[in-house]
């Protein structure tokens, strides 16, 4: 960068940045600076970059202003705020202090270990030059023109990289088995799941490069990107990246002067959770109902159209170029012995700092929630952390010092999954959460195998019984028995792991289940059928507000006299509870 180009403005334009009006922020910066001839006034060149997600989406739009290598970051910027930044900071050199990010941003970022997310938020995801500027496609060049296929695979095996999508199988070993199959045609598929979106939006070229190296390593000439059509921005940026890679000769025929040819095609998936299962995903690419296949044969033996196929997700592929460039030793030095490297999670729920985080494997949950997450929202007590989406387990507050890795999670009956992490506090009901996940899985079960199709339905019915106060003790035993049956006899991971939230929940929160069943009470006050609203007479000032907001006309009373709620007419909407300014409504 020369002196002439001394002002750089970086605006976050990921899904969240765009949702907060980031595109307008960027264009107003451009317009104001060009219209007012600011470059001439300050004798500096200004450049503008749209960047991907830097994770702290709750404070979007985030804007970096870099003047003479001095970088400051603004948070929650709206288009109307741009003028003042240009006026005071860019023209006069004084940053607008009250709009700068605060300590929470600093602690959110500094406690992470960004490897695959590193370039997201720094480079323009739509520019191949930016990617080349951070040594992009050098790993592909070295792998394809200087390394043998088995050398590439050996490096990946040595790095210890395990699939970032679900089961955590060794990526290198998967590639090796696929390559050893006798067929001449092989396929490689990149699954872009919901948690991978920021990677596709922030640094799509890394995914393409990883896929290219994978294709070379297993001897595939065709790669597929499987992505939901609805992820418009991810699709657009990946498509743009593929076109740029083609123009530069990285995809196509005789890549890097060798006889290796590789082409990438999109396959647009649909809104179906089951498509995260690899054989169901292949059925979907082949244009059929996404129902899992019986294994063996495994996809690496007979996959897409019966040919040996490797499926990895976008995060796994994003790691590949870095491992080739920096070496297996570099990668395995991060994380734990058995779970190397880093993992991306979307930290969400009742923590202060929600966002996209990347941590070294093995980091204790406590450090994630209280370090990166900045602690609980409203300093409430943490109840549980859920990892791995609807098929993951619930981790209670007492186990927060456990490190997050494949081994520990599998020991307690959970999975790493693709990277969802939701934090619950004391206002959340474990039974109700479990019922929510079961509702989802029951709806998403493809219906091919009876243990999953019938099991999820029966489990949902029993969980509903508990939340409605109609359950008996024996229902818990039935739930446990069903869980065991589904785990051992379902065809695919969806059915096998569907009971994880229930089993882990029952292990750590048995009392909560028992209170629902025995006392017909929901300690968290969530299960509608089990709660009642009543007026605490001492506190009621008779302001009539509750009477006015009640949609069912269940509240009666005169002005300045304690009101009462008719339990039979109450629809338990909680409107009175929320409206009361004196804390005079009791919910129990």
């Amino acid at each position: 960068m020369t002196d002439q180009q001394a002002v750089t403005i970086k605006v976050c334009l990921g899904t969240s940045g765009k949702a907060s009006g980031g595109a307008d922020v960027l264009s107003i910066f451009q317009k104001l600076i060009q219209l007012n001839g600011i470059e001439a006034q300050i004798n500096k060149r200004c450049s503008y970059t749209k960047v991907g997600c830097r994770g702290f989406c709750s404070k979007d739009v985030l804007v970096d202003v870099i003047i003479n290598d001095q970088k400051v970051t603004y948070q929650s910027i709206k288009p109307t705020m741009v003028e003042r930044i240009v006026e005071e900071h860019i023209l006069k050199g004084t940053p607008v202090a009250e709009w700068l990010t605060r300590e929470d941003y600093e602690s959110f970022q500094s406690k992470q270990h960004k490897v695959v997310l590193g370039p997201c938020g720094e480079i323009d995801p739509e520019s191949i030059d930016d990617y080349l500027g951070i040594n992009g496609y050098q790993a592909a060049k070295r792998a394809i023109s200087k390394m043998r296929r088995d050398e590439v695979i050996k490096t990946i095996i040595l790095s210890g990289l395990r699939g970032r999508g679900g089961s955590g199988f060794s990526t290198g070993t998967k590639w090796e088995i696929c390559k050893s199959q006798p067929d001449n045609t092989r396929y490689i598929i990149c699954n872009v799941g919901e948690v991978n979106r920021p990677l596709a939006e922030g640094n799509p070229h890394a995914i393409i490069e990883g896929l290219l190296i994978g294709g070379y390593a297993i001897g595939a000439e065709k790669g597929f990107i499987y992505i939901r059509e609805r992820y418009h921005l991810s699709v657009a940026r990946l498509r743009n990246a593929i076109n740029q890679a083609k123009d530069n000769g990285f995809i196509g025929k005789q890549i890097f002067g060798t006889d290796f040819c590789f082409d990438i095609e999109f396959s647009f998936g649909t809104e179906a959770f089951i498509c995260g299962e690899e054989t169901a995903l292949m059925e979907s690419i082949e244009g059929k109902r996404a129902m899992p296949r019986v294994r063996p044969p495994f996809p690496v033996q007979k996959g897409l159209w019966g040919k040996p196929t490797v499926i990895n997700n976008a995060e796994t592929f994003s790691n590949i170029p870095l491992i080739i460039r920096k070496g297996a030793g570099w990668f395995s030095s991060m994380g734990t012995e058995e779970s190397t490297g880093t993992k991306v999670f979307t930290l969400s729920g009742k923590v202060k700092n929600v966002g996209l985080v990347e941590i070294p494997m093995g980091m204790p949950f406590r450090d994630i929630v209280y370090g990166i997450g900045g602690g609980m929202e409203g300093d409430r007590a943490l109840k549980a952390v859920q990892v791995g989406g609807p098929s993951g387990g619930l981790i209670p507050a007492s186990m927060l010092d456990m490190g997050l890795d494949y081994e520990n999670l599998s020991k307690i009956g959970s999975i790493v999954g693709s990277g969802g992490m939701v934090v619950f506090n004391e206002d959340d009901c474990i039974v109700s959460i479990t019922k929510f996940f079961m509702e989802f899985l029951q709806r998403e079960s493809c219906g091919k195998c009876p243990p999953c199709r019938i099991g999820t339905k029966r489990m949902l019915e029993l969980l509903t019984k508990i939340t409605e106060g109609r359950a008996e003790y024996k229902d818990l035993a039935t739930l446990e028995r069903l869980s065991g049956l589904m785990k051992t006899s379902s065809l695919c991971g969806l059915g096998r792991s569907a009971s994880n939230p229930f089993i882990t929940g029952l292990n750590h929160f048995r009392d909560e289940y028992l209170t629902h069943i025995r006392e017909k009470k929901c300690p968290a006050g969530v299960c509608i059928a089990l709660i009642t609203f009543s007026v605490i007479e001492d506190r009621c000032k008779g302001c009539t507000l509750c009477r006015k907001v009640c949609p069912a006309g269940a509240v009666t009373g005169e002005v300045k006299k304690p009101h009462r709620i008719d339990a039979a007419a109450c629809i338990k909407c909680g409107a009175c509870y929320k409206a009361c300014r004196f804390g005079a409504i009791k919910r129990q």
């Binding site: 899904t15 969240s16 765009k18 949702a19 907060s20 009006g21 307008d24 994770g55 702290f56 989406c57 709750s58 979007d60 709206k78 288009p79 109307t80 799941g193 919901e194 948690v195 991978n196 979106r197 920021p198 059509e229 609805r230 992820y231 418009h232 647009f268 649909t270 809104e271 179906a272 959770f273 979907s284 690419i285 082949e286 244009g287 059929k288 109902r289 996404a290 979307t346 930290l347 969400s348 729920g349 009742k350 929600v354 966002g355 996209l356 859920q386 989406g389 609807p390 969802g420 939701v422 619950f424 959340d428 959460i433 929510f436 996940f437 989802f440 998403e444 493809c446």
Partner: protein
């Protein structure tokens, strides 16, 4: 017939690009806003594939509709992160604002189709609603209902509003 011309064009692309039945149905849905029965029967005859195979796919994936859909789509994300931040309530209020009956997803006047998405991966700005292609984060029932109602009046979406 306009419909037949459209179908021919879709079939042409399908044959040229060696597409699958899913891509064929996706293109049909994009052209008509839903999958008209006549279209499916037409393809079934031309391709000599039983219509049941098409309907099997169409009913498996929630993206396909067998009835006409609305001019606009409002999607409420109902993943875990959005769920605990009240996605249910948003969905319920939007549905009632559009007077949708049980099992319906499209308003009578075809102004809107309401969908719920499984996780869309924008958990850090939960709860999330998507109006056509515009994502709204940290939203609530009031804002989403306002979006939908604003549409009814103006008929067309005019841009993003800041608070």
């Amino acid at each position: 017939m306009i419909m037949e011309q459209k179908l021919k064009a879709i079939l042409d692309t399908h044959t040229k690009s060696k597409g699958t039945l899913i891509t064929l149905l996706q293109q049909t849905e994009a052209a008509f806003g839903y999958l008209p029965e006549e279209a499916v029967v037409w393809f079934s005859k031309k391709l000599d594939i039983p219509a049941s195979r098409f309907f099997g796919i169409a009913t498996f994936y929630s993206q396909f509709h067998l009835k006409p859909t609305g001019k606009n789509t409002i999607t409420i994300c109902c993943g875990a992160a959005c769920h605990i931040k009240g996605a249910d309530k948003i969905l319920e209020e939007v549905r009632s604002a559009l007077h949708l009956g049980k099992g319906d997803d499209t308003a009578q006047d075809l102004s809107f189709t309401v969908q719920n998405a499984t996780c869309i991966g924008a958990c850090s700005i939960a709860p999330v609603a998507i109006l056509n292609n515009q994502v709204y984060g940290n939203t609530d029932a009031e804002q989403v209902v306002k979006l939908v109602k604003g549409f009814e009046k103006e008929g067309e979406y005019t841009g993003f509003e800041y608070d």
